[in-house]
């Protein structure tokens, strides 16, 4: 199952790209995807980030829907 992952700010800097498709097992959780991403980009282990799925903040137990838009969000700095 494919999901689209967006990286922002310092995370895009660490991965070297803003957007990437990931293949995950059917009914994979956010946590599972997070682990795959950290395996590929160990530099992200030191960074604080939260995860949004389809533009909603979620916790890691959520099961990813197909074609989910997943965003890795570093600390907010608006204002």
């Amino acid at each position: 199952m494919l999901v689209n992952v967006l990286y922002f700010g310092m995370l895009a800097e660490a991965t070297g790209l803003p957007l990437e498709s990931w293949e995950v097992p059917p009914a994979a959780s956010v946590r599972k995807l997070r682990e795959q991403i950290l395996d590929k980009y160990p530099a992200l282990r030191d960074r604080k980030f939260k995860i949004a799925v389809n533009q909603q903040m979620v916790d890691e137990t959520l099961l990813l829907p197909p074609l989910a838009e997943v965003a890795l969000l570093p600390p907010f700095a608006g204002g």
């Binding site: 967006l6 922002f8 700010g9 310092m10 949004a52 533009q55 965003a71 969000l73 570093p74 600390p75 907010f76 700095a77 608006g78 204002g79």
Partner: protein
């Protein structure tokens, strides 16, 4: 009441003239007795690598626009406001310039004080906007984090 989604993001700094024009537009709304305005301005903070010269803002724009819309709706529901406007910069905002402009109006002052503080705190906490603080002249930078 449904409030139509409004454009929040502007390219680069928000000018004092833009703020004046926004105030002037409210003079025909004669139920308003109190306006309250918050402006965020870029500080020349001292960092290890030198002085901050500006902040380069990026955002997860689709989600950010939805978050701004939700904050607007929540503020209209909680406080008796006549008008509310929020503008935030994207791209480079140099030190001394304005990157956030929140403007609330009401018949009476109490609602404006409470609403303005609520909105600013919500923006800082919930809107996915990211800031790269440019430091010194050698191209250094740090990533800003709201407290």
């Amino acid at each position: 009441m449904i409030h139509k989604p409004k454009k929040v993001f502007v390219d680069g700094p928000i000018s004092p003239q833009f703020i004046a024009d926004s105030i002037a537009k409210h003079q025909s709304k004669t139920t308003i007795g109190a306006h309250n305005i918050f402006l965020g301005q870029i500080r020349a903070d001292e960092k290890a690598g030198g002085t901050v010269t500006g902040i380069e803002y990026t955002a997860y724009t689709d989600m950010a626009e939805q978050a701004f819309h939700d904050i607007r709706e929540a503020a209209f529901a909680r406080f008796k406001l006549t008008c509310m406007h929020i503008y935030h910069s994207l791209g480079l905002v140099p030190t001394g310039e304005i990157s956030l402009f929140v403007f609330v109006s009401s018949p009476h002052r109490r609602a404006t004080f409470e609403a303005l503080e609520f909105i600013v705190e919500e923006i800082k906490a919930k809107v996915p906007i990211f800031g790269k603080e440019l430091v010194g002249q050698a191209g250094d930078y740090t990533w800003k984090e709201n407290k």
